[in-house]
């Protein structure tokens, strides 16, 4: 038959080949080791849940999780030391995963952040001990209806939900793949792999369970919507480029590929598909990042989720999502920069200002931190817009700095408690500096870092992204950035005023003395905050070296 027989509805069958010749996919196991280790540990964790006796599970799971994360981190360091971040950067797993500087840097950051976050997951000294021993901040039996007899029995028996460890490992695995994904399908699968465990983790609070479940449902529904948008965007992009591979799409956008897939002859190269598809895809990523106007879920979810999960989610999700966003914009759509930059400008401006302004009216410390995370997403977007190597490295550095401050801050929130669990209403924090100067001082350090005061990591990060933005010609964005920093400073300062200059209330909350686990988390947070503030050169170098994508 001649070529004209190709039809948009059917096509001629190819010669049937013998089945034996399907090539086995070529997988570079060594380069994928970090992900494989984490997934493997998560699977082992499920087996532990099934077969290890209840009283030994906590220690087994904690050990397994920390060891897995540490081993994965060691693998990342090994790959980076082996030159995979720079000269040997490559595409692995049949084009599905990129092993390059940004991917390895972000994977390392995610793993470190996860380790300290897992320490707060494992904290068991904050809640009063039940009959069955000490308990953590997760529901005794997630499946039991809140307030039911079944739940009471579970609480009385001192059950703990040790499933959180494998669940969080699955989430980490998804996050590791997300910024490294090199085709749109891998991107989507990674998104789902880390989102679903997070929805679940959000619903697992021991106290205020209804609030927690509500948060999880909201997060799930909105997340499902955003996934749907993203999938639709992927479909349209496939229609446009005839491929889901990043490199291939970029080539079609550039116009360097002329061959047209006959099956897609009607749609390929159609700019409407590209623009709508790209926009939908960006929407999905901006949702995960928590940028205005896709931020609606952030305050409710941050408030309702168990605080250790909030810290983990706020830090690690942001790292993963910004990594994916960077790769999408810098690798897939650089040819479209004239189209997406104005849009991202707008998003960055409203995100910075919106987050900062709305945060002023908040009265709950977790919601306050949620809005602050929105404002920070805006600052990071300013670096993303730069479209320069400095843009990449500044965003990488900012994510590193921000994640430790965030996890540390939420870890402090878990310590301030009254009879109903964590005392998150700001009025209860009055006079904390008088009762527990150390805890208040540590929290003040984190707040000053959020506010971007010099000599903290927040300032270095902010300076890096603003500098990149200014060099990229976005001077006006820098001005908006400093204005929203000033607005944001107001509410951080307000909390400090409350802690140090207000009289403590007689019925105020107490500060629980945590185990060494949470102390480590907070200590690491403070140390990273100060080191990155005073002597950031090494880490800036690292981010600078890691700042090149592979295509």
């Amino acid at each position: 038959m001649s070529a004209t027989a190709v039809h948009s509805l059917w096509t001629t069958a190819a010669e049937v080949e013998p089945i034996g010749s399907i090539p086995a996919p070529h997988i570079e196991y060594a380069q994928l080791a970090p992900v494989l280790i984490v997934v493997g540990a998560a699977l082992v964790g499920i087996l532990v849940e099934a077969f290890v006796p209840r009283r030994a599970r906590y220690h087994t799971q904690l050990f397994l999780t920390v060891v897995a994360l540490a081993a994965a981190f060691a693998a990342v360091v090994g790959l980076a030391a082996g030159g995979y971040a720079t000269t040997k950067a490559q595409i692995a797993a049949m084009g599905a995963i990129a092993v390059d500087g940004p991917a390895l840097f972000l994977q390392g950051t995610i793993l470190l952040a996860s380790v300290v976050a897992v320490f707060t997951f494992a904290e068991r000294r904050l809640d009063p001990a039940g009959d069955g021993g000490r308990v953590d901040s997760f529901a005794a039996m997630a499946a039991a209806v809140p307030g039911s007899d079944q739940e009471k029995a579970a609480v009385k028996a001192g059950f703990t939900t040790t499933e959180v460890f494998p669940i969080s490992l699955f989430a980490v695995a998804g996050m590791l793949v997300f910024p490294a994904a090199n085709d749109l399908l891998t991107l989507f699968i990674a998104l789902e792999v880390f989102s679903l465990p997070l929805y679940l983790l959000c619903a697992l609070a021991r106290r205020k369970r209804l609030l927690s479940q509500e948060a999880a449902v909201k997060y799930f529904l909105l997340g499902a919507f955003s996934s749907a948008f993203m999938l639709f965007g992927i479909a349209l992009l496939y229609g446009y480029a005839g491929s889901v591979s990043y490199a291939r799409i970029a080539e079609v956008v550039d116009g360097s590929v002329r061959t047209i897939d006959p099956a897609l002859a009607d749609t390929m190269g159609n700019d409407a598909l590209l623009l709508v598809g790209g926009a939908l895809l960006l929407m999905g990523l901006l949702f995960k990042v928590g940028a205005v106007p896709f931020h609606m879920w952030t305050p409710d979810v941050y408030q309702g989720a168990p605080t250790p999960v909030t810290g983990f989610m706020a830090a690690a999700t942001k790292i993963a999502a910004f990594g994916a966003l960077l790769r999408l914009l810098y690798v897939v759509l650089p040819g479209l920069a004239w189209d997406w930059r104005p849009v991202m400008w707008g998003v960055a401006v409203v995100t910075m200002l919106g987050g900062a302004i709305v945060a002023i009216t908040q009265t709950d410390v977790k919601r306050l931190l949620a809005y602050s995370s929105i404002a920070h997403a805006g600052f990071i977007l300013a670096g993303v817009i730069a479209m320069r190597p400095e843009g990449i490295s500044s965003v990488l550095f900012y994510l590193l700095a921000y994640s430790f401050v965030t996890i540390g801050a939420f870890a402090v929130v878990t310590l301030v408690r009254d009879a109903g669990g964590e005392a998150t209403h700001l009025s209860k924090w009055a006079g904390l500096g008088r009762r527990s100067p150390l805890v208040a001082a540590v929290f003040a350090v984190f707040l000053l870092a959020f506010a971007g005061i010099p000599l903290t990591s927040g300032f270095t990060g902010k300076f890096a992204v603003f500098k990149a933005a200014a060099e990229g010609g976005a001077g006006a964005l820098v001005v908006v950035g400093v204005i929203s920093s000033a607005i944001a400073a107001f509410f951080y300062i307000r909390v400090i005023v409350l802690m140090f200059f207000s009289e403590p209330k007689p019925e105020g909350p107490t500060v629980a003395v945590p185990s060494p686990l949470t102390m480590t988390t907070i200590g690491v947070g403070v140390a990273v905050t100060l080191v990155l503030g005073v002597a950031p050169q090494y880490f800036l170098d690292l981010a600078g070296q890691a700042g090149v994508f592979v295509r």
Partner: protein
């Protein structure tokens, strides 16, 4: 490599701060002595710096330079010129007085928690501020300066908000609210100024590719680095705005009366005599050096703002009922003089302005600290609550008078010399501005003398009968300040000798020469 003496002047108080904070809660007196000793040690180091500085030598001396954040082009670069060295010395000189004057200001009223150590915190914060202020006078890297400029807000903020004046009207809660309002206002004003400067700092880097003051200035002078006029003006405005908030210049001054009113008297001195000087100092060092053309472009507006500050501050001082707020508005007026002296761009004006920074530090410290002693005796800041103090406490009244006379620039006391220089410098280029500025002196006489008359003379108020005179500690604080005011009043040469070469450099940066004196040809 020689001993890094400039770093040492900042490290010593910083170490002192840590040492003071580490003193156990019950050993309050030990904490005070630790702080005092460290501040005296810093004074000695500052003396060494002053001695090793050669007025006729290089522009920046005792320089240090180390790599810091290479990615941002930031170096840890220190160096002092004549102006910087004088400011370092002034800071190091005033801090021991501030500490001695505030000896009992931070003793806890009631036993708090075991770990609550307000006294240790108070003195540690003062030393922290000292370290940052001194380093900011020495920094010759714009980024390093910016970091210190912003970071010093935090300890200042805790000093204002955490340790209020105990003499207040109304309930304790009301006072706490006032205090916290003043602290937040202070912080927000300065932070906003600083953030706008941050945008300009980044802009400067994008344009110049360096943060080093000497590199940028050299590149500008040789014509290697050309800035578009608009760019230069915008950057200048970004820097100047931050310094004008700090200085403070009308209409950005409103945080100062709140902060000085609510803070304890020693902290008020710290604000106005030490920290605010960073603002005026930075105008000289950064605005004029980095943006000479833009500085000249902005001169008319800034001169007018300075004049408004002088007159407006003085007028509001006349109308105050609160002693500390009166001193605060007087300071606004004086900062107007300093800014005027800097921006008239004559060598007399700038020498005068530098000298004014020193003298204003000394005179305000004297006046404010004595006022603080007075207020702590009566427990009230209101002028109306006093009267006839000179009969019961003659030494206090006498020192108060000298402080007041210094504030109104009586000839023979140090501030006269500087105010005279500023006015001479102004008259030679802007005669009208000179005339307007002179009204500031008249008003100064009014507010200080009326203040003295209402509080010190007249019949003795009943509540003041048993008022004790100055104690030995308080006298030890005031006497040296007064001696210095007298000494510099008749013999300012040691300071002017150091300052003048630096002023010449600045003048050549802005490519200005003093106008030749014109003599009418005799017919």
């Amino acid at each position: 490599m020689s001993f890094p003496i400039l770093t040492a002047t900042a490290v010593l108080p910083a170490v002192g701060a840590i040492a003071t904070a580490a003193v156990p809660a019950a050993r309050r007196t030990a904490a005070k002595w630790t702080a005092l000793l460290f501040s005296l040690g810093t004074l000695v180091l500052a003396g060494v710096v002053l001695a090793r500085f050669e007025p006729g030598g290089d522009r920046y001396q005792l320089t240090e330079s180390h790599a810091w954040i290479a990615d941002f082009g930031v170096r840890y670069e220190l160096g002092v010129d004549g102006i910087g060295v004088v400011m370092v010395a002034l800071t190091a000189l005033l801090i021991p007085f501030v500490i001695a004057a505030g000896w009992n200001d931070a003793d806890p009223l009631e036993a708090g928690s075991r770990r609550w150590r307000p006294t240790q915190g108070f003195f540690a914060l003062i030393l922290m501020v000292e370290a940052m202020v001194i380093l900011s006078f020495e920094a010759t890297d714009v980024f390093l300066f910016y970091i210190l400029f912003e970071a010093m807000l935090i300890p200042m903020y805790f000093l204002i908000g955490g340790f209020g004046d105990r003499a207040h009207a109304g309930t304790e809660e009301h006072a706490a609210a006032q205090r916290s309002y003043a602290a937040v206002k202070f912080l927000l004003y300065n932070l906003v100024g600083g953030l706008i400067m941050l945008a300009a700092v980044i802009g400067l880097y994008v344009v110049a590719g360096s943060f080093s003051l000497s590199e940028i200035a050299a590149a500008r002078a040789s014509g290697e680095l050309e800035m578009a006029t608009t760019t230069e003006r915008l950057l200048f405005l970004g820097f100047f705005f931050a310094f004008a908030v700090k200085a403070p210049l009308w209409p950005l001054h409103t945080w100062l009366p709140n902060a000085m009113g609510e803070a304890t008297a020693p902290v008020a001195v710290l604000i106005t005599a030490v920290v605010d000087k960073v603002g005026t100092f930075a105008m000289l060092r950064f605005c004029l050096q980095l943006f000479p053309e833009a500085s000249q472009w902005a001169t008319p507006v800034i001169v007018v703002l300075a004049l408004v500050s002088i007159v407006y501050g003085a007028l509001l001082a006349v109308g105050q009922r609160d002693i500390k707020r009166l001193v605060a508005y007087a300071s606004v007026s004086h900062f107007g003089f300093i800014v005027l002296g800097i921006f008239v761009m004559t060598s007399q004006g700038q020498s005068g302005a530098t000298l004014y920074m020193v003298n204003h530090g000394l005179s305000t410290a004297a006046l404010m600290l004595v006022a603080g002693f007075l207020i702590s005796r009566r427990g009230s800041r209101l002028i109306a609550d006093y009267g006839g103090v000179q009969k019961v406490a003659p030494v206090l009244a006498g020192t108060f008078l000298i402080g007041g006379l210094a504030t109104l620039s009586l000839p023979g006391l140090a501030p006269f010399v500087s105010e005279f220089l500023v006015l001479v410098g102004t008259f030679s280029v802007y005669p009208v501005a000179g005339i307007v500025a002179t009204t500031g002196i008249v008003l100064a006489a009014l507010y200080t003398l009326v203040l003295y008359q209402r509080t010190m003379t007249g019949p003795v108020k009943e509540e003041l009968r048993a008022m004790p005179d100055l104690k030995a500690r308080e006298l030890a604080v005031v006497a040296p300040l007064i001696a210095l005011l007298l000494f510099l009043g008749v013999f300012p040469k040691p300071v002017t000798e150091i300052v003048n070469p630096a002023v010449e450099h600045t003048m050549s940066d802005v490519q200005k020469q003093d106008p030749r004196p014109e003599v009418e040809a005799a017919k």
